[in-house]
């Protein structure tokens, strides 16, 4: 027997000694000879689900071309960009489905009456919802995908080695499970305290229903623009562009600088001017405060578009650049299984 053979253990039934059949991920096995049932205590054993890719290459490319046209991207992007590569692949995700329960007590502040007096109303919330947590099971690298929402129409297929590239799992199953439970409990508490201004007490629990390793399909599209390589990923079932990088538009950047600077300056000036003209009355001060707040918000918004508009980012990609769209949350509530109580 070679060294390599020493690590192979042939699986036999502990009662009758017959050969048993079992598959990766199973934790109970039925012996077909003596009909005894026994539990497997292997280290691994998360159930695997794979979802069927329903978008073809042309559809994915069409979606990326549409995406090129929107937002402050380089004006000639849709005309001059060249797709250099487009390939499908499966990414692994840990998915925890659990009931999250939380008891949250706090107060809601309300202003009432003529003199705007602050009134504190005690609030209590009991949250009882189903949540789905998902987290990518490998490093994200520059893929920009952290989490998924599995659409209703997704078709589950059995996991097998296909022609399609499937990225391997490199993160710890137990860490993902622990983090998922923590995130679900935290979300339940946040949902309970959503209307409260101050939370004085909270306690949360989670009751796991299923923990699965999910393989979800994506199209990876790489394209070149002015000799630079950019990319976009497209959800293989919903066809949404979920992450990517694109060149920015210099014209939009300079317009943002002009509008942002002049408009916020004008608003601040208007506020200051009115406050002086009205000689410090409540109305004048009110206009000043509103003007300054609006000016700061505008300045921040447009400065960001000006300073980082060289590159447009979507999804959870790293680095500087103008973020557009939203990043998928790791925890999703299942709304039709909600039994909340608010007082």
């Amino acid at each position: 027997m070679s060294e390599a053979q020493k690590i192979l253990v042939s699986m036999t039934c502990p009662s009758c000694g017959g050969q048993v059949q079992c598959e990766e991920g199973e934790d109970l096995v039925l012996c077909k000879f003596c009909e005894s049932v026994f539990a497997l205590t292997t280290d691994e054993g998360a159930n695997k689900v794979m979802y069927k890719m329903t978008i073809d290459k042309d559809k994915a490319l069409a979606k990326v071309r549409d995406w090129w046209k929107g937002g402050p991207k380089a004006q000639d992007l849709a005309q001059t960009a060249q797709v250099t590569e487009a390939y499908p692949m499966y990414l692994p995700f840990w998915r925890l489905i659990a009931r999250g329960k939380a008891c949250v007590c706090g107060i809601e502040e309300e202003r009432r009456g003529k003199d705007n007096q602050k009134v504190e109303i005690p609030r209590e919330a009991l949250i009882n919802r189903q949540y789905i947590y998902s987290e990518i099971a490998c490093e994200t690298g520059d893929l920009g995908i952290q989490s998924i929402v599995i659409p209703e129409r997704a078709e589950a297929i059995s996991y097998d080695d296909q022609e399609i590239v499937t990225f391997g799992v490199t993160s710890s199953r137990d860490s993902a499970y622990e983090e998922g439970g923590r995130a679900i409990r935290q979300t339940a508490v946040e949902d309970g305290g959503a209307r409260m201004d101050k939370v004085y007490f909270s306690k949360s629990f989670f009751f796991p229903k299923a923990f699965t390793l999910v393989y979800y399909p994506f199209w990876i599209i790489r394209y070149s623009y002015e000799g630079r390589t950019y990319f976009a990923t497209v959800d293989g079932i919903t066809a949404h562009v979920v992450s990517g990088r694109a060149p920015g538009n210099a014209g939009s950047q300079s317009t943002a600088a002009g509008i942002g600077g002049a408009l916020s300056g004008g608003l601040a000036g208007l506020g200051i001017g009115l406050a002086i003209v009205t000689e410090g009355t409540d109305v004048g001060i009110g206009v000043l405060v509103v003007g300054i707040v609006a000016a700061i918000a505008l300045l921040g918004y447009f400065y960001n578009r000006f300073r980082y508009g060289d590159e447009i980012l979507i999804g959870a990609v790293n680095g500087k650049g103008l973020k557009s769209g939203r990043t998928q949350n790791k925890v999703q509530p299942v709304y039709n299984e909600t039994y909340d109580y608010f007082k």
Binding site: T84, G141, E178, L263, G265, G269
Partner: protein, 257 residues
């Protein structure tokens, strides 16, 4: 990578990465693989070719954090396609599966200290694997030097080779390094020529000042001064256009002013 044989019938047994059980394709016997004491060799293939890697580097040099003329002035002096080795230990620590990654080679390369194993299609590294012309960097740290210091009990351990492009470039006489992950395209750097925000703040500050003066004077003195707000917009836009304007790379065939 050793070849496995079915313990019952002796036919060759395919053991896939990340699995605990293998079924013999001839006799159907299920075999449990005890990975606790063995070292498995894996490789993540390149999914980004040389041209795409150079394109990614160029895209990175044009990013808003990098020096404005980095794209046109950076000069690649070295470009290497390599597989970098890292040990990956999966162990049970306090009843919990925990993953550790440790370098199998001492290095100062950007990003390689973080020791992440990038996303990729894990393949078995054996004689049949194609390295597509990349150099395989051999480990110079033995696995034995890590085993005593690791906590918990082993589940499995592997040496994972992952694909990188190692780029050395010069900018204004100084040499810099960047590493591109050949699987997902992430760019790692330790230091790089960066762009100051000063010009951006100055331009917006000027437009703001003109707008502010226009607002105050327009209310207090004469509405004619509101023109200053519009002047602020045009001044801001014109100056901003100069700040964001790109120098075309010399080889693009475009005349630069």
């Amino acid at each position: 990578m050793p070849d496995f044989q079915c313990p019952k019938c002796g036919a060759s047994l395919q053991v896939k990465p990340g699995t605990q059980m293998a079924t013999c394709s001839f006799c159907g016997t299920v075999t449990y693989i005890d990975r606790r004491s063995a070292l498995f060799f894996y490789l993540l293939p390149f999914s980004i070719d040389e041209n795409a890697a150079k394109g990614i580097f160029k895209r990175w040099t044009a990013g808003p954090a990098q020096a404005k003329d980095l794209e046109s002035s950076a000069n690649i002096t070295q470009f290497a396609k390599e597989f970098f080795p890292v040990f990956r230990f999966r162990r049970t620590v306090n009843g919990k599966e925990t993953v550790f990654a440790k370098p199998a080679k001492g290095t100062l390369l950007p990003g390689m200290q973080d020791l992440i194993i990038p996303p990729g299609n894990i393949e078995i590294y054996d004689a049949n694997v194609s390295t597509k012309g990349a150099d395989v960097i051999q480990p110079d740290i033995a696995i034995d030097s890590y085993l005593p210091e690791l906590t918990g009990t082993p589940i499995d351990q592997a040496l994972v080779y992952f694909p990188i492009y190692e780029i050395t470039y010069t900018y204004k006489g100084a040499a810099y390094q960047a590493v591109i992950d050949g699987s997902s395209g992430a760019v790692y750097t330790t230091s790089s020529p960066t762009r100051s925000s000063g010009a951006y703040i100055a331009v917006m500050g000027l437009a703001f000042t003109l707008g502010l003066l226009g607002g105050i004077l327009g209310i207090m003195v004469n509405p004619i001064f509101f023109v200053l707000v519009i002047a602020g917009f045009f001044a801001g836009k014109l100056l901003a256009a100069r700040v964001v304007e790109r120098q075309k790379p010399a080889d693009a065939g475009v005349k630069s002013e």
